[in-house]
Symmetry: D2
Subunit: 371 residues, 4 copies
């Protein structure tokens, strides 16, 4: 199979090229770039020197020759490529936000400042969080070429933490108020330079950004709503607060997600006995582990492990650790992913595998890197 | 004035020595170490070679010769030294938890696993968060030598974020449920080696620890309660959830503190107009700035700045940034301190200044380091 | 094929397990540990949770069941295992220094403080720097099970930089005086904790260690001598100065190797014309590239690239960049490897491939990681 | 005294402002910026919020009001300001290369691509490496306002390592061939963003740049020549090779400087007895310590310490450690400075102290930061 990557000079695109180069079903990779076509990819990423990855094509050339196409472009650039792919009869996996909102053009417009150019494409598109939409993706794929809206990095980490709770599978009743506090490595900002990502300005420091108003918020909110059925949706609805931070590391997202439980009103000085707390935590952990039992890429960690970004590095895993605060009234689930793999390129390949009928793990079997 | 530091071979103790060496009222510094006495301090910290800081004394020797004594020891070690100081008529500033709980021996025992050896010392001790207890400290200091329970690093960062809200000075009605999500640099773990602090195990990573059960929780809880008067205390009481994380940097604590506001029930898709949100945020920010107007070491940042640990590095400042989430229903205050300065040694010197009647800023005037 | 790794709880051993798990010819991996047998490997490396890597065996058990055995142990521990392997008829790839000195027991004793326990094993052992000894390894492997002395990390980086010059293939006449100045990431220190590797002690810093006396010196010296034939050996012999440094990063070694050229005596203010210098540099670069033309894992970088550790990360490549100083009188070759891959586990697998008759690249095809 | 800083929005300029703000003889600081005048300095460096540092002036305004002026501008911009200062009768301390070459306009032109605009200014200028030119500076200062060419960061680190050897004070006879291999933190690149300083491109990596051709080379060369008198200059002259590297840390330069000794021809396998080597090293170390005995900012470290950048952090110290390679034929001196302090702003203040007749340590007494 010949896989094409548009936007191969960005971080997510290059990571795709790297991961696809080790995929056993992919015989060759084509790369395209809007701004660098005609150059070699190693002129942009000298890591790839000697790798014979060929010349960067124009996107149209690439689409004309690929069996499946990935678009790793800024949001707002993907629709025309998606259309061209469908017209040619090949599937398109989009890593931007352009296909993450399905029919909800209003939410897309509100947060990304742009209307759909080809709204009808959403009839053939699906949000590609496999743990949420696996059956939808398979069904659509059975009907012909399709478009995948590959999830955002933060939404992946936060949604996978929240799903067992939202699905009513964790054995607790959440109040509906959810705080997701997350920190990302600097690769999340992409390859473009900026003062905030200048080494001396971000090394040895931590800080939040877009507090309470990051545009991944509506995507997370929608996922949580979709996972909660009519029976399990919190009575007052879901109220989500999401705060991203920047940390001085390259890869990884850590999300600490707080679920105050219904009736959570006991003052903090009430401390249930340690044994009682541990037993309740174990019950919830077991329930979450059961919920994800068949998922190849979600690991519910055994106690006393806490999720850490360096344990999923270079892998497609999402690690989850389950905790109760000392009062037992707030459930805390910590989620760790590699933002470039499960948060971007790896998840896109997981979608490709699903579309093509390969084992979902194909090309993504590598154990996490130790460092 | 001759200042003595017991525990000078630990990180907080050595930072004290360094800061005191630049204090204009301190003519000389004595250092003591329980395990290294007889050696030079530069044999432990080669940074100090050529500085002529003298030999590490036994604690008793140091107490016998100092005009004021700092104890930078693990919790559970300070009471005897405190007693010896009072007996000799000099004040003792304790950087451990031993004097942070005042008369509440039960809380201390529950979280630190030890009873008081000399309970009566609490008649002469006061919790040294100047922004909370300045008048108490001054009053006690007016009556003779005293003991300061220097605050913990996380409690300092979180309490200063929460005080305007708890005091009813921010112009909002908090629900009483508070989530404090914090990340610390690795110096917070001290000088003792451990697998978790081995460079390859913590570089390039982020992870939580002691989720929901860190022993700084009761200290924060008590501070928040003390700051909220009978009129401003949330109806259902305060319910605090505190989660610390470890990040790959040396200095600094960043705490992101969430205050769901009373009646906070609007679903996340409700977005107030941007102008309305900005105006409401500005009002709260101004109120917080007014609350801290006379505090020399608390900076309420103007919009659009967000607190960042690299902006308070090597300074005694606590920076606060004020935010509302997009629904306007959750107030988010982000707090940044240097954990070794405002979170330990700097705050101890601030207490010394207060006790001795010096300007509170003496010896702590340095601007934050740029990197 | 069933591969066994003794010492799987160290960094090099665990990296071996990780890389072998992706090797297409390896059907299963056994792990052993002297100190942790009976435990699971994920109890030591939680990264591997869910990976079903089995229980850590006793070394003897592992040897009894493996088709090939890797020893990733401290120097001085490998001979008995090597003997047991040969006795059982399987090959042993040793990652310590125990088999790097062949018959030169004196050099081994002088630098490692220990005599050979089973000196006769050297009849079946060979130093496993494939770029130096490929034919020897193949020949010995054709005669039955053998022992590989897998090269040290610094010797790999420095030797590969120096080989074209020592072999007389670079078109220059070196004076024989060689300075190798290298810096390593902290994983090179292994998994054992120590003050020097405590995050706050080594983050944000650089420093040398074992200046001029590191025990990799004689290994490098021997390699350089072996590569220089009677015709190309510098007249005065080789004189090597080697200084390692520690840098605040996880993976990678960068070695900057200086070759003052014969007759190098022009004072520094003499600057040849830029064009002349560039042309001479290009000639040497081309010669080095030709020398390594058939090597799968050595990349001589095109101008103006300089070798950098982040361009070989997670790969088995050694990158070389070729420079002349401004006077044209000193050749400078910069070498970058991933110390855990080409400097340890990857090179060991390269040796396994050679022994087993696989393509040398098998299991090592991954492109360098971008970050 | 009123000190003015032109270029206060660059890293060196802002570090100057920070250090001057703690200088006991400086009553006020004025800042100017070519591109940001009219703005506040804290709009560029939010670290300085609340510090009341005033508005950024136009350079001419600043010169008109200051008692001494620092220029922290890119090379090629300083001459007009220097002239204006002299015309007004105040001294000018230039942190660029514009006044580092004295009468040697040709060297300046060759390496910086520009002629002198006001060549005659060199009659009133002096190269400000106090350890080399203290008496010259004092003499010139006694005659009226003057210009200081503040040394480059690498030249400071390398020259101070080499001076005892060049002056014939180390008790060895150097061959004249000198290799200086240095690594700098990223602040050395300044505040302007660039791909090479984008966090994901330089974190967790090391690499050389401008190999053998960095423009600090002629400055170092000149210093070494100036320090070596007719009696001590190596017979064949000095031949310097200098290679800078970039490392993933903020502050600091480490320079490892190799001096092959005259007659250095013994092959590396010759190892003098350890005791002999140690004794010879101690003799050289003592000689170097004696050479620098009266220097307030040079610390010759006792054995077995090696210089490390984290031991001089935030201080004006240059730490030197003295080593011999195992053959005894190469002297290795390792030098560590904080590139922003001794390598830029601190050294500029040292010059100011010298000019103004203050104790050279004034405002620079702070002990090195621990982390």
């Amino acid at each position: 199979m010949l896989a094409g990557v548009i936007g191969a000079t960005g971080y997510a695109g290059a990571e795709l090229v790297r991961l696809l180069s080790g995929h056993p079903e992919v015989t060759d990779i084509l790369s395209a770039s809007v701004s660098h076509h005609g150059e070699s990819i190693e002129s942009v990423f000298p890591q790839f020197v000697h790798a014979r990855l060929g010349t960067l094509l124009e996107p149209a050339d690439l689409i004309a020759r690929s069996d499946i196409v990935f678009g790793a472009l800024p949001s707002g650039k993907g629709e025309a490529y998606a259309k061209a792919c469908l017209d040619r009869g090949v599937s398109y996996i989009d890593l931007s936000a352009d296909f993450r909102f399905d029919e909800d053009e209003e939410a897309y417009r509100a947060w990304y400042g742009k209307s759909y150019d080809y709204g009808e494409l959403r009839k053939r598109s699906v949000y590609g969080l496999c743990e949420l939409n696996r059956e939808k993706i398979k069904t659509l794929a059975g009907q012909g070429p399709l478009i995948i809206g590959n999830p955002g990095c933060y939404p992946t980490a936060v949604s996978l933490a929240a799903f067992p709770v939202m699905a009513g599978a964790a054995g607790v009743v959440p109040s509906g108020y959810i705080i997701a506090d997350a920190i990302s490595g600097v690769t999340g900002a992409g390859r473009e330079t900026g003062r905030a990502y200048h080494f001396p300005e971000c090394a040895d420091s931590a800080s939040p950004y877009k507090v309470g108003s990051h545009r991944h918020t509506p995507e997370i909110f929608r996922n949580l709503n979709n996972m909660s059925g009519p029976d399990t949706r919190p009575r007052g609805g879901i109220q989500l607060v999401f705060t991203p931070h920047l940390g001085p590391f390259n890869r990884g997202i850590l999300a600490t997600v707080y679920f105050p439980l219904d009736g959570c009103g006991r003052p903090a000085e009430c401390r249930p006995a340690a044994a009682e707390l541990a037993e309740k935590t174990a019950r919830i952990r077991d329930a979450c582990a059961a919920f994800y039992h068949d998922e190849p890429f979600v690991r519910v960690l055994p106690a006393p492990l806490a999720a850490a970004t360096n344990r999923v590095r270079h892998s497609n895993y999402c690690d989850l650790s389950i905790h109760l605060d000392q009062s037992g009234a707030t459930l805390i689930i910590v989620s760790a992913i590699d933002n470039m793999v499960k948060g971007a390129a790896g998840q896109a390949i997981q979608n490709m595998n699903l579309i093509c009928g390969f084992d979902e793990r194909r090309g993504l079997e590598a154990l996490p890197a130790l460092f």
